[in-house]
Symmetry: C2
Subunit: 230 residues, 2 copies
């Protein structure tokens, strides 16, 4: 028997509204993070909030972000509080009334002060985590970063200690209210994200086979290693 | 002959890095916004950055956001500078080296101070825009908001005047460099977002037909009216 691992509540992660959409289950957090590889990083740069899409990797304890050492959003992040949000949109909730319309989604929000990773071994491990999050098998397949490339890359580590998860699934909620008598159709229009067929670089020699770890992706749920490895 | 409409450059929207991925073409901004209905709203709440996924509508001049009057992120937004980012992930760029890996994407970032919409007529028009962005035809089909529902809804209007667009498409860029000699496969693994078959609310009477404006969605590119109406 396993015990459910719980996220701790803080002022920033407490679900104040729509509490039924909140989860404090650590495994749910892992599943949401595992199902994606692109997050939105919120950071204050020169006094203004910026929300930057960027790739991430999660090892279950730490979220890794990377970028050029010249990136303004990354340079601003170490020692500054950030918010990283990962969102999967699963469908449109089409209710009988406009007011009850909504979105089925899974979302994780992580708060914290990122740490700039300088230890060479941890830096490699973090970049491996990032690469494998989006494309499992690719770290062992592609050429790894050179010393010069590592020096040109900033890696940030953000603890998953302060995180909140929100989700909604299922049909609209006005099916047993007065609007049900309107006789309108209601339901969910699902949204699916899937990998397509690999598109070879035109610079490749003709007829080169797609490696198995990539070839097996087409048609599968896309977005991250968590869903691809099912 | 049409003149290309240009976005103005400001300190916040100037593309400093990877300038080749930046666009100042207003029509590109419209296309990116039209292809989605979920954005990430960045706002400072009680001193901390929060990045909140939420739906939006764009009429080409103004981005509309809405939420409960009790929502902390919305309540904090009027009169406070925000950043709203819309991102579409189109594929993984699998290069020969880990360093050259990347993402094909389209992203819009809008900066500004949102205005709380209080005029009843504009509020209805904004909510219509929001609803039609995700589900064209739904505003005329579903029951419109009552006076009480309108009072429970905050609508924010954010000018599109200060916006930046970034995009990347195409194969990896190390096909003509020294890594080409490694003999590794390289290319793009596309990511596709499509609408699935509508799922009727179990509370509906059996056999009720899906209305045409919803039934036609399945299999089409998902995410917003811009792509669905192609």
């Amino acid at each position: 028997m396993t015990t459910t691992r719980q996220l701790r509540e803080t002022d920033r992660t407490r679900h104040r509204r729509l509490r039924e959409q909140g989860s404090l289950d650590r495994d749910v957090l892992d599943a949401v993070l595992g199902a994606g590889f692109v997050c939105h990083l919120g950071v204050t740069v020169e006094g203004a909030v910026m929300v930057v899409p960027t790739v991430y990797g999660s090892d279950g304890e730490t979220l890794y972000l990377h970028g050029s050492v010249a990136s303004r959003s990354l340079v601003a992040s170490p020692e500054a509080a950030v918010c990283v949000t990962v969102t999967h949109v699963d469908g449109l909730v089409l209710a009988r009334s406009v007011f009850e319309h909504g979105v089925n989604y899974r979302s994780a929000m992580i708060h914290g002060v990122p740490r700039l990773v300088t230890d060479p071994e941890e830096k490699l491990a973090g970049l491996r985590c990032l690469t494998e999050q989006a494309a499992p098998g690719q770290w062992d397949y592609a050429r790894r970063p050179s010393r010069k490339e590592l020096a040109a890359t900033s890696l940030l580590a953000l603890s998953l200690d302060e995180a909140a998860v929100k989700l909604r699934s299922g049909p609209p909620e006005d099916g047993d209210g007065p609007d049900a008598a309107l006789g309108l159709w209601a339901g969910v229009l699902p949204l699916r994200t899937t990998w397509g067929e690999p598109e070879p670089d035109p610079a490749l020699p003709p007829g080169m086979a797609v490696p198995p770890h990539i070839a097996g992706s087409a048609g599968r749920a896309g977005g991250g290693q968590g869903e691809r490895q099912q």
